[in-house]
Structures are given as C-alpha cells and as structure tokens.
Subunit: 258 residues, 4 copies
C-alpha cells in the first residue's frame, strides 16, 4: 500500500497491525522466525512462563531484540486480580515495561476473562501508572466501561483462546469498534487467514494471535499468511467494499448488448 | 513467500493466482491501474464489449500490454452456444487468442451458466482447437464431465456474478477441488478480501473477480487488498491450519502453572 | 394453524408438507412408526431395494397402507438414465404408480445428480406418461429447464444426501422458489429440526428427508420434531418475519420512558 | 410428543418452553390472542409501561388471567441498579409477584445489559427475597457468577433486543448450558422460527421473545409458528441428531446394490 497507514498505541506509531504471542513454539529459534515472518512489531510475553530475566537459561531477548520489537508482558495463567497485578509489577521491575496486556481468566476450560476481576485489576494497574491493554469479553457495555476507566486498548475475544473457531460474533466486535476511541484489537479465536482478514474488515485496529500460527503445520509460512491477511483486511476496510446484492449483474456493462 | 509457488495453466506458469476482469471501470486508465495494483498476470476481456481491434477508438491493448499480461477473451453476454462459439472464433481471428474463457449464460437476472449449452459450446470449441476455461455452476458432477471433455480449467461460481455475497457453498467448491486435475478457479461472487482468502483456503488454484474490485469505493486499493488476500489464503492453505476446537486451551503451555 | 393450508401435487391436495424416505430403519415396524410420528402423507420408496411385491417376504405395504399414504417410487441406486427409466417402468407395472421421484446419480461419494442423464431420463419418462418429480442440483437455470420440460415437482438438493449439513446455499433455493410454478421441495441435506424450518422459511412447498430421521438416536421422536419444524417454518413464512436490524430497539415502546 | 416433558422454574412445573413479552402489540386483544396462539404459560410484563394496577385504564389482567398465566414483571427501561430494584419492589407490592425478570440496561442503542449494575441489583433483590431471573450477556463466566449468587434462571442474550438477527454466538450459549444447573433461557435476538428451533437444539430450557412475534406481519400466526418451533427444537435436542458428514451416503443401504 503506497499510502501511509500506521496506528498509534500509547503514543507510539506502528506499521504492523498484527500482534503475535510467543508461546507454544518448539524453541526460541522458531519463535523468532515466526515473529519475523509475521512482520509483527509487538509481541506478547507470558512473563510467568517465558524466561526474560534468568541469564543462565535461554532468554527470549536473545532471539527477539526488545529494542526493535515492543514486548508486551501479559498475565496468562492469572485467575484473580491480585496475581495479575503482582505479575505485572514484577515484570515492570524486571524489564521496565509499563505497557502491559492484562488478562484475568475465569476458568481453565475456556480461558474466558473474569470480568469483575478484570475491572478490579485494571483499576489498580492504571492507578499504579501502567498503560493497560485489556483482554475482555465481546460485550460493548463492558468495553465502554474499560475505555472510560482509562485502558489504552480494548482487546475483545473473537472466540475461545486457542479454539481457532474464527470471530464468533461480528456484530459485537463491530459495535465495540464503532463506539471506541482507543485501539480495538481482536484477541483470541482466529484460526486461519480469512478469519484475520474478516476481523480487520470490521474496522479493528489490529489483531492478536498465537495458536493459529504456532499450531499450524508450518508456523513460519502461516505467520506470513497472517501478515498478508491483516494487510488484505485492512486495505479492504479502507477501500470500502461493494454492496452485497441478491441478484447478479454482469461484470461488464450490459448497455452494449442491444 | 520465499518458496516458489507457481501454477500452470495450459502449459504456462504464473506467479499470481488472482485473475481480474476488465469491465466496469470508469476508463482504461483506471482499469490498468487496478490490474497493476492487483498483481494479476491474466485478465479477462469481454470481446463483445471491450475494444481490442478498432484503432480509431481507445484500445485496451494500449493500456495493458498483451506481451506482459495474458488476455483471456470471454463470452460475457452470450446466452446460447452458437453466439459463444462465434464470439471466440472472431476473437481468435482478431488477436490470435486460443486460450479462452467460455461462459454461456442462462438468464439476465442471475447470469448463471446454462449448463447444457455450456457443454455444447465447450465440445465444439475443444474440437476447434481452443483451450477452454469454463465458467460453470458449482456442481461436482458437471465439473468432472467438463474436465473429462478436455477443458483446461474449471471455473465454478462462488455466488451470482456481481453479487459480492462471498462463496455460498464451500462444500461444493471443496468437492470439486478434491477431484479435479486441471486448475480450479473460483469465478464470480467474491465481495471482499476475506472472501478471496477463504476461497484460496479451500485449495483452489486461483480466483477470478471483477465487480469486487471495480465497484469498491477505492478500486485501486481494493485491488491491492485482493492481491494480499489471495496470497494470504494460498499460504494458509499450504501452511496447514490448526484444528478447530470447541474449548480453549491456553496460548502458552499450562505445564508451568503448578 | 386454523387457516387451511394445503398444497397440490399432480392434482391431489396434501396437508402435510413433510415427505419422508423409508430406508435405513431397522425394520418395517420402525419405518411405520416414524412415518406416523412425522405426519407424512407421502413416502418415497427405493423400488430396487424395498420389497413391495414379493409376498413371501415382509412387505412395506403391510405396514404403511398405500390407500392412506401416497407411495412415491424412486430410483435410488440408478447411475444412468436407462436404469432409472427401466426401474420406474417396473414399478408402474408392479404397483400402478405413475407419480414418481426420479434420481439419476452422478457418483457414489456424493450421490449428487448427473444432470445430463437426469434430463434424458425425465424427457423419456414424461413422454411415457409418468408424472415426474425430479431430484436435481440447486441450479436455478437447470430447475427452469426441468419445469419447462414438464416435471411436476422440482426437488433441489440442500446438501449431499445423508450429510446432515443443512441447506448449504439458501440463495440458490430462494432463486428457484421465486421462479417456479410447480412445487419446489428441498430434497436431501437436512440434519436437524432448525434446518427443516429454515428450508420452509425460504418458501418451499415442502421438504423430503430420510437420514435425519432414521439416523437420529430416537428416530420416532425426531420424526415428531420434523413435523413441528416443517409447520413452524411454513407458518413463519406465511406470517412474514420481522426485518433484521443491526441495532436493538426495546421490546416495549420507549415513549413511556420520559 | 407422548413423553412427559416439563421443566421447573422456581419450584413450579411448566409444559410450554416459550415465554413471550407483552409489549409492542397494537392493543391488549392482540396481545392476548398472540399469547394464546403461542401456548405460553409465562409472560413478561414491563411494569413501568404496562398498566397492571390502574382500574380506570384498560388492564392487561383483564385479557390475560394471572391465575392461568404466570406474570413475570421485568425492569425494561431501567438503566441503573437502583431503579430496577425499586421497580420490582413496587411490582411486588402491587401484584404480589416475587418471581421477576431483572434487566439493567447499558445503553439505549443496543439495550445490552450493564453487567456490574446487574450483579449489584441481583444481589440486592435476592437478599430481599426475590426469585431473580436475570437477563445477561452471553459470557459463561458471568453466567456462572450469577448462578452462584442465587439467580433462579440465566437468560443470556442471543442478539441485540429487537434485532431479529438470530443467535449470534451458539458456542457461548452452549458453554453456558453445559455448566448451569438452573434453567437457561435464551432472551432476545430471535427473528424467526428456525432461530427458535436452533436455540432449543443447543439444549436451553426455553426461549423468551417479543419483537419476533409482535412485529411479524401476522403476529398471531407467527406466535403459532414459534410454538411449533420451540417444540421442534426441543424434540430434536432430545432425539439426538444424526452426525454431520462431509460426504453423502445413500438414504437406503447400499448393500443391495451389488
């Protein structure tokens, strides 16, 4: 695309609209190769699981340079507000990160957010100076409340984390996009390229995914597919699609027929 | 994509899997700009409507160089076998083209193919030395018969021409892809980028579209969107998508939790 | 429904709009019980498979009285026009049936119709005095040709026979309904009750099914479900559904709010 | 259905699984006729809008006998916890009703629930001795919290109130059904009969609707359609549908073919 098309998150501009997770890869080499193929400029890191501070173990920072790639610490695995807040404070101490992705999970089966606990943790983190990107359900009313509270990005789920079902409720995502001033990023649920394109066509600022890339048979190639899919969906959104019609009309003018 | 990924049509290799129509643009400048943005190496031309031979009128060949772009004469506007056959013979005389896209339409409202007339015209054209790419309904049995007859590409409709509804029956397209040895190209019905990606994820060799690009608010930008969408869908198909699951699992291994 | 709502097939009125197959049940008792629970007044019978003439074997006519239930001989298992025509002639000799369901199959995997062979057989049977109900693909152009030829009912497939996928292409079925003067009956592909209701909401005169009932865990209860589903869909079609809206409005008037 | 199939709400058994609203009809005659055609045994009443106590105005109770039909006062039009609680207290004083439907709305455009305010009101009402049926978003985690709090029925939205879009996220509804011990009733979003059947096939105990009936062209006939649709979906759920298959198999055993 020749036009400049960047988006702004917490005061910084990004060209790529694809944010990728760093879990589920077989090793850090594969993680780094997938991130590169995806073109992502932001990655999420489960700070309770991925080594970002112990120099005696392989460290992600040796494979993905934090000067070039924005690290987004997340609270994967936290099932209550306190542990999420504590986790992100430790992350800030370790790496200086204050732009964070908050997720407070409701149960092991679906990994859906616990919304009351998410509100509680978001409030506490914002008060504590964090810039909070918040994983939430696809409820427009809740999304508005989180934006009003001061979250810097709204990240509604598209489908259960790791399910690959694609965006289940485009109406909800669209309602959220229409009402929100900060970036809306679809988080979780994308399974393949057309899902990512469809998400972007709803007008989201970007998409976050992990499993769809990491669990493809060829993760590196799927990362490239997703890069193109996000571009495709973004450009289609900007280009303004044709209206749907029940009946055909010819792809060339009929006037010349008679 | 670093891997070489070309496809072969009638003995010639192509890199782009997006074929675009040349009708419905406001002028040949816009047509040419859209074709370039799409990356297409093949264009269809309605020889009964688009000037390819009268040097006193603006000619498409002055805007799209036939040495660089493969012209695919089509029979848009033909509602019986005879006129389709006659049209393509004239095209061969005028431009030497023997690789052609046959469409024999059944009615004005839907522009669906008249299949018996399509069979008749295809047989006649093949006997006459043409390499016939055939627009057909999405019936796997008919598709097999057309392949057996000697057609060089099977082009099932995804939805009514110009409707932009997206692929209505993925099961049919998938059945056709599984059984066919020559290229299968989805023809007609794509409305936006995710539709094109979804078509490619079914394993088609390529996609043909016109209205989705020409009737977008910004046709040039939509052409670029479609280029990326076709790449995205193709790469996702090759990469092998993750399985769908009803329930979530975490995007990072749970093992570290306990 | 208090209003009289019958439909007419080959000059005879019917109250039930559900036609059921008689195959795949464990025995004739179960067949008869399912037919009764379904409320069907017409059943299809695969005359090459179901015993309707050998009095030394259990006979379907002993379980389903042909004076009360219209038998519709079909050509299940016929893969060419000749065998279909021959099968129905034998059926006419054996039982006097001239209202028949023609199906000429294209392959074993999908059991989709072979349309050229279907045209051929239909023409021959109509000439021979049969009233032909025709199983066909969901191609509006072909449907029109079969109607023009003199078929008394058009029976487009909703999905592969026995697949239970539900109607894959409602646009096609709707296009066929709009243009057809004889009854349109969706044949094949229904999997559960909502599929049947959705088919009727498209304006079809009725629905034919077999596997969805016979392979349910409780076929008799599913037969009853389908009876209600067909009524529900028919009544909803006649009642005229509310328009879809993207945004909510209250289910009670807002005027009283202020 | 010959088997007894009732469900229990707050200790009382009901045969009908269709709950209908009483708003949006042109007068109480039409309301009463629609309720009768629907077979509903429970109706919701917007106590702030529908006259249930002023004997100088037409009163709903003169048209729908509260001894035969369970009245379910709701809080339609309440946008905060306090007004919802107050409204239901007034209703209890006026009519003695303690089985109530709580809805605390989040905005005028979507009429989605404000979940934090819903939690607050539910807690207060339960403490106050009400049996609370709760309108909520389709979030499984929130549904569990409301059940744990003591709500007697969980009523997740299927789509925006009055939108007629059908159930947007069957995965969410199914997750809620699987985990919930009290009745789950889909509330809002149904547009036509097949939507209602599809909801019941997910295993819900029942469905509540208003606009789909009241805004049909013929509300009385649509009420009957919905009665059958709910039966159809319920029976199909109990009967256990056939599995979906990508490929066909014949509707009669193939064994006899060779």
């Amino acid at each position: 695309m020749s036009i400049k098309d960047t988006w702004t998150l917490a005061g910084k501009d990004y060209g790529s609209r694809l944010i990728v997770g760093t879990g589920k890869y077989k090793d850090f080499e594969e993680t780094a190769a997938a991130v590169e193929a995806s073109g992502a400029e932001i990655v999420t890191v489960a700070v309770r699981r991925v080594n970002v501070s112990d120099p005696n173990q392989p460290m992600l920072v040796d494979y993905l340079d934090p000067k070039k790639i924005t690290y987004l610490p997340n609270t994967a695995g936290c099932f209550d507000a306190d542990s999420a807040v504590r986790t992100l404070r430790l992350a800030r101490e370790a790496g200086g990160w204050d732009l964070v992705k908050l997720e407070v999970l409701g149960d092991q089966k679906t990994l859906y957010p616990n919304m009351p606990a998410t509100f509680e943790a978001a409030e506490s983190l914002i008060k504590d100076g964090f810039k909070v990107m918040v994983y939430c359900n696809d409820d427009p009313i809740a999304a508005k409340q989180l934006e009003d509270m001061g979250c810097v990005a709204i990240m509604p789920l598209g489908a259960p984390i790791g399910s690959g079902l694609g965006i289940q409720n485009p109406v909800h995502i669209r309602l959220i996009v229409e009402q929100t001033s900060v970036p809306v990023l679809v988080d979780a649920g994308v399974g393949t390229a057309s899902d990512a394109a469809a998400g972007m066509e709803l007008g989201c600022e970007g998409i976050l995914m992990n499993t769809a890339i990491a669990e493809a048979k060829d993760p590196i190639l799927m990362a490239s597919a997703m890069k193109h899919a996000v571009w495709a969906g973004r450009q289609a959104y900007l280009a303004g699609r044709m209206p749907k019609k029940l009946y055909a009309d010819p792809s060339s003018p009929l006037s010349g027929l008679i």
